[in-house]
């Protein structure tokens, strides 16, 4: 097994408040992070994801327990030493003024350069490799003020990479990005974890993307403790359902996504195969119908026809539709009657 980069035992996280007792966010957190692993931290808002990340990156001090980075207590590492081992990408918006993409990434060499910040040949090499690794070579010469959020985010990741860290921690790096950009960032992070035997920890709200890309998921329910496992493990042992149930949403273990509807209006039988049947089932579920295969136990029947149409049967009346939208409109009318 690859080596443990980051670990914590019996960790209590929280923050001190002036003139109030310390606020404890989560307790009994045990975790370890291995080299070459992409881990996604998931949890509802307010569960303490940010506090956990701040504690794991040495910004906040643990209330109890300790965080070990490369076997050393993170709070005892010198700032420069820590910066050489750990790169972070935060949610802070960077308004660095007139810098090129290259100059921005070059700031990541700060822990290595001398007093003037002059880049050695080797520093330049690392900066270039970092930019290449995130696929941002075309952004190197451009002023960062002209870049989109996604392009900036890539450069910020490259900047963290330029620190040559064993561990990358990213706080919601995909927030504000559209789907292609989100997939792109996650794919880049996976590559970074695998190719250089680096550990990558990402907090995200993007459940679907996390389920598909993470080697391991850390699930933090409000108050803790943290559950850890392969995404599929957590689906199978019901951790997802539990964590999000209290938040009033239902996690569907079959589809691996959230359910928009809690109470079924009725059952509906679906006949058909293939892609069109899958999406028909989704459309029906989205509108509150539980899809079953058994035609005998419900009055509603939907057939996916090979000619591209849908046929709906209700109380002996048959009707055909060109689109799912039309079918759903019809169903809604029926329910209201």
């Amino acid at each position: 097994m690859s080596k443990v980069v980051l670990s914590a035992t019996n960790l209590t996280i929280g923050y001190p408040r002036p003139r109030h007792p310390t606020r404890i966010v989560a307790e009994n957190i045990n975790l370890e992070l291995r080299a070459g692993e992409l881990v996604c931290l998931l949890g509802p808002n307010g569960a303490g994801k940010s506090t956990l990340l701040r504690t794991l990156s040495g910004i906040a001090t643990p209330i109890a327990g300790e965080v070990l980075l490369g076997g050393k207590d993170i709070t005892k590492l010198k700032p420069t030493e820590l910066a050489k081992r750990l790169g972070v990408v935060l949610t802070d918006r960077v308004e660095a003024g007139m810098l090129t993409g290259y100059a921005l990434v070059a700031l990541g060499r700060h822990p290595y350069t001398n007093w003037s910040g002059r880049l050695s040949r080797q520093d330049e090499q690392v900066v270039r490799h970092s930019i290449e690794a995130v696929g941002a070579v075309h952004l190197a010469a451009r002023p960062i003020t002209e870049l989109s959020d996604g392009e900036r985010q890539k450069l910020m990741i490259a900047r963290a990479l330029a620190q040559e860290p064993e561990l990358l921690i990213l706080d919601e790096p995909t927030a504000f990005l559209d789907l292609p950009r989100r997939v792109d960032i996650l794919r880049t992070l996976r590559k970074l974890a695998y190719e250089a035997e680096r550990a990558v920890l990402v907090s995200t709200h993007d459940l679907d993307l996390a389920l598909r890309s993470a080697d391991r998921i850390w699930l933090l329910p409000p108050g803790g403790p943290l559950t850890s496992g392969a995404p599929e493990d957590l689906v199978l042992n019901g951790s997802f359902q539990q964590t999000f149930y209290s938040e009033g949403v239902t996690f569907n273990s079959e589809s691996g996504s959230f359910q928009m509807v809690d109470n079924w209006l009725d059952q509906i039988a679906l006949v058909g195969e293939g892609l069109r049947a899958i999406w028909t089932a989704r459309a029906l579920e989205r509108n509150g119908f539980r899809v079953i295969r058994d035609k005998t136990s419900t009055e509603y029947l939907v057939e996916v026809l090979p000619n591209g149409f849908w046929r709906m049967t209700y109380q002996e009346i048959r009707q055909e539709f060109q689109s799912l939208y039309g079918l759903i409109q019809h169903l809604k009318n029926l329910i209201q009657l």
Partner: protein, 380 residues
Amino acid sequence: MKITPTISTPAQPKVEIAELVSEEEVNPWPATGLRRLWLIGFAVLLLAAFALSLILGSVNIPPGDVLTVLLGGTPGRSTWTDIVLKFRLPKALTAMLAGAGLSVSGLQMQTLFSNPLADPFVLGISSGASLGVALVVLSAGAVGLSSLSFLAGLSLLGNIGIVAASSLGSALTLVLVLFVSQRVQSAVTLLILGIMFGYVTGAIVSILLYFSLADRIQAYVAWGFGSFGGVTWSQLQIFAPVIISGLVISYLLIKWLNVLLLGDNYARSLGLELKQARFWIVLSTALLAGSVTAFCGPIGFLGIAVPHLCRALLRSSDHRILMPGVILVGAIVALLADIVAQLPGSGVILPINAVMALLGAPIVSWVILRQRNLKAAFGR
């Protein structure tokens, strides 16, 4: 030199472009070094402005005679030696040092507070100095403040007294600001406290003004106009080393200032010890701004405008590029403003602050507005 990536235009055949642009020719990596040509240009301008400030003035002295004086010879008229050596030369040196010092402190404050409106005095340095001067100058004839006889005594020393009072005011403010800077969480708190301090000192000064005699008020207002001309050779022996050491400290802070561009949290994640960085930035700013205020009075405009001017001209926020530029341009602007304030050939001297703002504000506005990306020029 900035290397722009080659863009293929649809009008040209694509094959040809592929041949023209071999792999070695396209370098995607922009140069990060100093803008040498600009710096050489600034240096030449500085020399020219320095020469002009020795030649021009209320008395016309031919350039040849100025050179003769500088080389230790005897000029056409004997009074010219004194004019050049005792008046124009120290004044030009003072203007250069003050201009460089104020501009660098402005740059540091704008970066520390990531605020384009920050200037050298946001920390309250000039407020402290003005309070010191007000206490000395105004208390001399003030009603009911006779207990401050020590301060009143200082005012009798004239110029030296003002310098001492203002240095004392700046220094006490410096200690206060350093103390506070190590205790507050964020730089914004420091900024707000500095502004509040300014209000309090302003209030005390206006109360003092209210109870003062007309000629004392006149003296205080005259100090407020600012001047590079009042600094003697013996004062320069203190002023110059202080400014130069302030500039040296600032130069050593370049790397820290650069990571501060990313904001406090990122700076910390890159290994910067925020409190330590803040201490040294505040110290050098206070040294520079404090001593300029002490010797020349409160000089506005330079500190806020020169950093913006340099960012616009050099097209960079990188302090390795900006710092030398800001030092040179600050010195140039101060010299030029001083030359204009003399209204060469006439006996009139305009207040330096007024000249700088009247001529400088339109020029800086024009340069900044000319920027394609206005937002970028300010770093936000």
